[in-house]
Protein backbone atom coordinates (compact mmCIF):
# COMPACT_ATOMS: atom_id res chain seq x y z
CA UNK A 1 0.00 0.00 0.00
CA UNK A 2 1.33 3.38 -0.94
CA UNK A 3 1.33 6.08 1.66
CA UNK A 4 0.50 9.57 0.53
CA UNK A 5 3.26 11.87 1.59
CA UNK A 6 3.76 15.42 0.49
CA UNK A 7 7.27 16.47 1.18
CA UNK A 8 8.81 19.29 -0.76
CA UNK A 9 12.54 18.80 -0.86
CA UNK A 10 13.32 21.98 -2.76
CA UNK A 11 16.79 23.09 -1.78
CA UNK A 12 17.66 26.73 -1.39
CA UNK A 13 21.33 27.34 -2.19
CA UNK A 14 22.75 25.32 0.64
CA UNK A 15 20.82 27.13 3.35
CA UNK A 16 18.88 24.77 5.60
CA UNK A 17 15.15 24.96 5.02
CA UNK A 18 12.86 24.83 7.99
CA UNK A 19 10.05 22.29 8.12
CA UNK A 20 6.49 22.74 9.30
CA UNK A 21 4.54 19.64 10.30
CA UNK A 22 0.90 20.08 9.35
CA UNK A 23 -1.59 18.12 11.40
CA UNK A 24 -4.92 18.03 9.58
CA UNK A 25 -7.79 16.07 8.12
CA UNK A 26 -7.64 14.98 4.51
CA UNK A 27 -11.07 16.54 4.00
CA UNK A 28 -9.55 19.97 4.58
CA UNK A 29 -7.27 19.59 1.61
CA UNK A 30 -8.08 23.00 0.10
CA UNK A 31 -7.18 24.84 3.29
CA UNK A 32 -4.10 22.72 3.89
CA UNK A 33 -2.88 23.11 0.30
CA UNK A 34 -3.09 26.89 0.73
CA UNK A 35 -1.03 26.67 3.91
CA UNK A 36 1.46 24.33 2.23
CA UNK A 37 1.85 26.81 -0.64
CA UNK A 38 2.38 29.64 1.85
CA UNK A 39 5.16 27.73 3.61
CA UNK A 40 6.82 26.76 0.34
CA UNK A 41 6.64 30.35 -0.90
CA UNK A 42 8.63 31.33 2.18
CA UNK A 43 11.33 28.86 1.06
CA UNK A 44 10.54 26.17 3.61
CA UNK A 45 8.93 22.76 3.42
CA UNK A 46 5.69 21.36 4.72
CA UNK A 47 5.19 17.80 5.89
CA UNK A 48 1.72 16.31 5.66
CA UNK A 49 0.53 12.78 6.33
CA UNK A 50 -2.99 11.61 5.72
CA UNK A 51 -4.26 8.81 7.92
CA UNK A 52 -7.74 8.56 6.47
CA UNK A 53 -6.31 7.50 3.14
CA UNK A 54 -4.83 4.37 4.75
CA UNK A 55 -6.54 3.71 8.09
CA UNK A 56 -5.32 0.12 8.18
CA UNK A 57 -1.81 0.83 7.01
CA UNK A 58 1.05 -0.40 9.17
CA UNK A 59 1.65 2.06 11.95
CA UNK A 60 3.38 5.22 10.76
CA UNK A 61 4.03 6.39 14.32
CA UNK A 62 7.84 6.25 14.14
CA UNK A 63 7.90 8.23 10.93
CA UNK A 64 5.44 10.77 12.31
CA UNK A 65 7.46 11.11 15.51
CA UNK A 66 10.69 11.63 13.56
CA UNK A 67 9.10 14.20 11.26
CA UNK A 68 7.67 16.17 14.19
CA UNK A 69 11.06 16.14 15.92
CA UNK A 70 12.67 17.31 12.67
CA UNK A 71 10.14 20.13 12.23
CA UNK A 72 10.58 23.67 13.48
CA UNK A 73 6.86 24.30 13.96
CA UNK A 74 3.70 22.23 14.18
CA UNK A 75 0.51 23.62 12.62
CA UNK A 76 -2.64 21.88 13.80
CA UNK A 77 -5.90 22.55 11.98
CA UNK A 78 -8.87 21.65 14.14
CA UNK A 79 -11.98 21.52 12.00
CA UNK A 80 -15.30 19.68 12.02
CA UNK A 81 -13.66 17.10 9.76
CA UNK A 82 -11.16 16.28 12.49
CA UNK A 83 -13.90 16.19 15.10
CA UNK A 84 -16.06 13.85 12.99
CA UNK A 85 -13.33 11.27 12.33
CA UNK A 86 -12.32 9.37 15.51
CA UNK A 87 -9.21 7.99 13.81
CA UNK A 88 -8.01 11.43 12.72
CA UNK A 89 -8.94 12.99 16.03
CA UNK A 90 -6.83 10.51 17.99
CA UNK A 91 -3.87 10.98 15.66
CA UNK A 92 -4.08 14.76 15.89
CA UNK A 93 -4.08 14.57 19.70
CA UNK A 94 -1.19 12.12 19.55
CA UNK A 95 0.81 14.46 17.26
CA UNK A 96 0.27 17.36 19.60
CA UNK A 97 1.51 15.19 22.48
CA UNK A 98 4.66 14.34 20.49
CA UNK A 99 5.13 18.05 19.75
CA UNK A 100 4.88 18.79 23.46
CA UNK A 101 7.40 16.08 24.27
CA UNK A 102 9.76 17.51 21.64
CA UNK A 103 9.12 21.03 22.96
CA UNK A 104 7.96 22.27 19.55
CA UNK A 105 6.10 25.48 19.06
CA UNK A 106 2.58 24.29 18.27
CA UNK A 107 0.07 26.51 16.49
CA UNK A 108 -3.59 25.58 16.67
CA UNK A 109 -6.02 26.96 14.10
CA UNK A 110 -9.80 26.69 14.34
CA UNK A 111 -12.68 28.11 12.34
CA UNK A 112 -14.81 30.72 14.01
CA UNK A 113 -18.11 29.25 15.28
CA UNK A 114 -16.94 25.73 14.30
CA UNK A 115 -14.99 24.89 17.40
CA UNK A 116 -14.20 21.23 17.94
CA UNK A 117 -15.57 19.40 20.93
CA UNK A 118 -12.42 17.77 22.28
CA UNK A 119 -9.71 19.42 24.36
CA UNK A 120 -6.12 19.53 23.14
CA UNK A 121 -3.40 18.81 25.70
CA UNK A 122 -0.86 21.36 24.47
CA UNK A 123 -0.43 24.47 22.32
CA UNK A 124 1.74 27.55 22.26
CA UNK A 125 -0.18 29.67 19.76
CA UNK A 126 -3.83 29.89 18.82
CA UNK A 127 -5.73 31.56 16.01
CA UNK A 128 -9.38 31.53 15.08
CA UNK A 129 -9.86 31.70 11.32
CA UNK A 130 -12.73 33.16 9.39
CA UNK A 131 -13.55 30.51 6.78
CA UNK A 132 -14.08 33.07 4.04
CA UNK A 133 -11.32 35.52 4.85
CA UNK A 134 -8.27 35.69 2.61
CA UNK A 135 -6.87 38.17 5.10
CA UNK A 136 -6.71 35.43 7.72
CA UNK A 137 -4.70 33.18 5.38
CA UNK A 138 -2.31 36.11 4.83
CA UNK A 139 -2.03 36.49 8.59
CA UNK A 140 -1.06 32.82 8.83
CA UNK A 141 1.62 33.56 6.22
CA UNK A 142 2.94 36.49 8.27
CA UNK A 143 2.96 34.36 11.41
CA UNK A 144 4.90 31.61 9.58
CA UNK A 145 7.32 34.16 8.16
CA UNK A 146 7.95 35.65 11.56
CA UNK A 147 8.30 32.30 13.28
CA UNK A 148 10.55 30.54 10.75
CA UNK A 149 14.19 31.35 9.96
CA UNK A 150 14.84 33.49 6.89
CA UNK A 151 16.10 31.67 3.79
CA UNK A 152 18.36 33.06 1.10
CA UNK A 153 21.07 35.64 1.33
CA UNK A 154 20.37 38.87 3.20
CA UNK A 155 20.04 41.78 0.72
CA UNK A 156 23.17 43.41 2.20
CA UNK A 157 25.28 40.38 1.23
CA UNK A 158 23.76 40.16 -2.25
CA UNK A 159 24.30 43.90 -2.79
CA UNK A 160 27.84 43.67 -1.49
CA UNK A 161 28.74 40.80 -3.82
CA UNK A 162 27.25 42.65 -6.80
CA UNK A 163 29.14 45.80 -5.78
CA UNK A 164 32.41 43.86 -5.60
CA UNK A 165 31.83 42.44 -9.09
CA UNK A 166 30.98 45.87 -10.51
CA UNK A 167 33.87 47.52 -8.66
CA UNK A 168 36.48 44.92 -9.64
CA UNK A 169 37.43 46.59 -12.97
CA UNK A 170 38.45 49.66 -10.95
CA UNK A 171 41.07 47.83 -8.92
CA UNK A 172 41.29 47.07 -5.18
CA UNK A 173 39.77 50.47 -4.35
CA UNK A 174 36.86 49.67 -6.69
CA UNK A 175 36.30 46.37 -4.88
CA UNK A 176 36.27 48.16 -1.52
CA UNK A 177 33.90 50.96 -2.52
CA UNK A 178 31.79 48.68 -4.73
CA UNK A 179 31.35 46.19 -1.88
CA UNK A 180 30.51 48.84 0.70
CA UNK A 181 28.20 50.73 -1.67
CA UNK A 182 26.48 47.53 -2.76
CA UNK A 183 25.93 46.44 0.83
CA UNK A 184 24.46 49.84 1.66
CA UNK A 185 22.16 49.77 -1.37
CA UNK A 186 21.16 46.21 -0.48
CA UNK A 187 20.23 47.30 3.02
CA UNK A 188 17.89 49.94 1.57
CA UNK A 189 16.09 47.15 -0.32
CA UNK A 190 15.25 45.32 2.91
CA UNK A 191 11.48 45.56 3.28
CA UNK A 192 10.56 47.87 6.09
CA UNK A 193 7.31 48.58 7.81
CA UNK A 194 6.02 45.00 7.66
CA UNK A 195 2.69 45.26 9.48
CA UNK A 196 2.79 43.83 12.96
CA UNK A 197 0.64 40.80 13.68
CA UNK A 198 -1.96 41.71 16.27
CA UNK A 199 -1.83 39.25 19.12
CA UNK A 200 -2.14 39.04 22.85
CA UNK A 201 -1.10 36.55 25.43
CA UNK A 202 -4.20 34.70 26.55
CA UNK A 203 -4.37 32.86 29.84
CA UNK A 204 -7.24 30.51 30.60
CA UNK A 205 -8.79 31.20 33.98
CA UNK A 206 -9.96 27.59 34.22
CA UNK A 207 -6.96 25.49 33.18
CA UNK A 208 -4.21 28.10 33.49
CA UNK A 209 -2.93 27.44 29.93
CA UNK A 210 -1.15 30.42 28.42
CA UNK A 211 -0.67 30.95 24.67
CA UNK A 212 -0.26 33.62 22.02
CA UNK A 213 -3.70 34.49 20.70
CA UNK A 214 -3.85 35.94 17.17
CA UNK A 215 -7.58 36.74 16.90
CA UNK A 216 -8.11 39.36 19.61
CA UNK A 217 -11.27 40.60 17.85
CA UNK A 218 -12.97 37.28 18.72
CA UNK A 219 -13.73 38.08 22.34
CA UNK A 220 -15.44 34.86 23.36
CA UNK A 221 -14.09 31.44 22.49
CA UNK A 222 -13.60 28.02 24.10
CA UNK A 223 -10.11 27.49 25.51
CA UNK A 224 -8.53 24.87 23.19
CA UNK A 225 -7.04 23.07 26.16
CA UNK A 226 -10.04 22.72 28.47
CA UNK A 227 -12.90 23.73 26.12
CA UNK A 228 -14.44 26.03 28.69
CA UNK A 229 -15.39 29.44 27.38
CA UNK A 230 -13.15 32.43 27.87
CA UNK A 231 -14.23 35.99 27.47
CA UNK A 232 -11.64 38.66 26.80
CA UNK A 233 -11.90 41.83 28.81
Amino acid sequence: MVRIKYLNVKSSIGIKMAQVFISHSRHDRELVNNIKAIIENLGHQAYLYEYEAHPYDSSPDTEIMNEIRKSDLVFTFLTRNVDDMPHTKSWVISEVAIARDANKRTFVFEYENEFVSFPLPYLTDYMILDKHSVQDILTVQRIAKKSLPQTGLPPEVGGGVLGVILGAPFGPLGILFGGLGGAWLGSTLRPSGTPEIPFLIARCLWCGMQYNYYSPWVKKFPCPKCRRYLELR
Binding site: F170, G171, P172, G174
Partner: protein, 104 residues
Protein backbone atom coordinates in the same frame (compact mmCIF):
# COMPACT_ATOMS: atom_id res chain seq x y z
CA UNK B 1 47.74 47.88 -23.90
CA UNK B 2 50.46 49.58 -25.93
CA UNK B 3 53.22 48.16 -28.04
CA UNK B 4 56.38 49.86 -29.36
CA UNK B 5 59.46 48.67 -31.23
CA UNK B 6 62.84 50.39 -30.90
CA UNK B 7 66.26 49.86 -32.42
CA UNK B 8 69.46 50.25 -30.36
CA UNK B 9 73.10 49.97 -31.46
CA UNK B 10 73.87 48.03 -28.29
CA UNK B 11 74.22 44.42 -27.25
CA UNK B 12 71.32 42.45 -25.84
CA UNK B 13 73.12 42.04 -22.51
CA UNK B 14 73.43 45.83 -22.09
CA UNK B 15 69.73 46.29 -22.76
CA UNK B 16 68.82 43.46 -20.34
CA UNK B 17 70.99 44.98 -17.64
CA UNK B 18 69.34 48.40 -18.10
CA UNK B 19 65.88 46.82 -18.02
CA UNK B 20 66.71 45.10 -14.74
CA UNK B 21 67.68 48.47 -13.27
CA UNK B 22 64.47 50.04 -14.52
CA UNK B 23 62.37 47.24 -13.01
CA UNK B 24 64.05 47.90 -9.66
CA UNK B 25 63.01 51.57 -9.92
CA UNK B 26 59.39 50.65 -10.41
CA UNK B 27 59.61 47.95 -7.68
CA UNK B 28 58.49 45.31 -10.13
CA UNK B 29 59.39 41.69 -10.36
CA UNK B 30 61.48 40.70 -13.36
CA UNK B 31 61.86 37.39 -15.19
CA UNK B 32 64.50 36.92 -17.88
CA UNK B 33 64.39 34.13 -20.42
CA UNK B 34 67.96 34.00 -21.68
CA UNK B 35 67.21 31.66 -24.57
CA UNK B 36 64.41 33.62 -26.18
CA UNK B 37 65.75 36.98 -24.86
CA UNK B 38 62.38 37.77 -23.41
CA UNK B 39 61.96 39.85 -20.26
CA UNK B 40 58.80 40.07 -18.23
CA UNK B 41 58.36 42.88 -15.72
CA UNK B 42 55.39 42.76 -13.34
CA UNK B 43 54.48 45.99 -11.58
CA UNK B 44 53.12 45.97 -8.04
CA UNK B 45 49.37 46.51 -7.40
CA UNK B 46 48.07 49.93 -6.46
CA UNK B 47 44.71 51.27 -5.30
CA UNK B 48 43.33 51.40 -8.82
CA UNK B 49 45.27 48.58 -10.39
CA UNK B 50 46.06 44.92 -9.83
CA UNK B 51 49.40 45.56 -11.55
CA UNK B 52 50.68 45.59 -15.11
CA UNK B 53 52.74 43.16 -17.14
CA UNK B 54 55.40 44.56 -19.45
CA UNK B 55 56.95 42.11 -21.87
CA UNK B 56 60.14 43.01 -23.65
CA UNK B 57 61.42 40.94 -26.56
CA UNK B 58 64.97 41.49 -27.79
CA UNK B 59 65.90 40.46 -31.34
CA UNK B 60 69.59 40.39 -32.18
CA UNK B 61 70.81 42.01 -35.39
CA UNK B 62 74.34 42.32 -36.85
CA UNK B 63 74.97 45.84 -35.48
CA UNK B 64 72.42 46.12 -32.69
CA UNK B 65 69.11 44.91 -31.25
CA UNK B 66 65.39 45.49 -31.93
CA UNK B 67 63.47 45.83 -28.69
CA UNK B 68 59.72 45.25 -28.65
CA UNK B 69 57.99 46.53 -25.51
CA UNK B 70 54.38 45.54 -24.86
CA UNK B 71 52.43 46.57 -21.77
CA UNK B 72 49.10 45.14 -20.61
CA UNK B 73 47.05 45.11 -17.41
CA UNK B 74 47.69 42.07 -15.23
CA UNK B 75 43.90 41.48 -15.04
CA UNK B 76 42.10 42.00 -18.34
CA UNK B 77 39.04 43.74 -16.88
CA UNK B 78 41.04 46.25 -14.84
CA UNK B 79 39.98 49.38 -16.72
CA UNK B 80 41.74 51.78 -14.35
CA UNK B 81 45.08 50.07 -14.89
CA UNK B 82 47.54 52.28 -16.82
CA UNK B 83 50.04 50.05 -18.66
CA UNK B 84 50.90 52.84 -21.13
CA UNK B 85 52.44 54.83 -18.29
CA UNK B 86 54.96 52.03 -17.70
CA UNK B 87 55.53 51.54 -21.42
CA UNK B 88 56.39 55.26 -21.68
CA UNK B 89 58.59 55.12 -18.58
CA UNK B 90 60.60 52.10 -19.75
CA UNK B 91 61.16 53.34 -23.30
CA UNK B 92 62.07 56.85 -22.08
CA UNK B 93 64.60 55.41 -19.66
CA UNK B 94 66.06 53.08 -22.28
CA UNK B 95 66.34 55.96 -24.77
CA UNK B 96 67.92 58.32 -22.25
CA UNK B 97 70.69 55.76 -21.69
CA UNK B 98 71.10 54.10 -25.07
CA UNK B 99 69.66 56.61 -27.62
CA UNK B 100 67.34 54.35 -29.58
CA UNK B 101 65.41 54.82 -32.79
CA UNK B 102 61.76 53.99 -33.11
CA UNK B 103 60.84 51.42 -35.71
CA UNK B 104 57.54 51.59 -37.54
Amino acid sequence: MGKERWYYKKSADEIISTLKEISKEISGGVEVDDISRKIKIVTPPSLLSYGEIIEVLIDNYKDGVAVTVEANPRVWFNITSNPDRYLRHITDKLNSIHKGQKIG
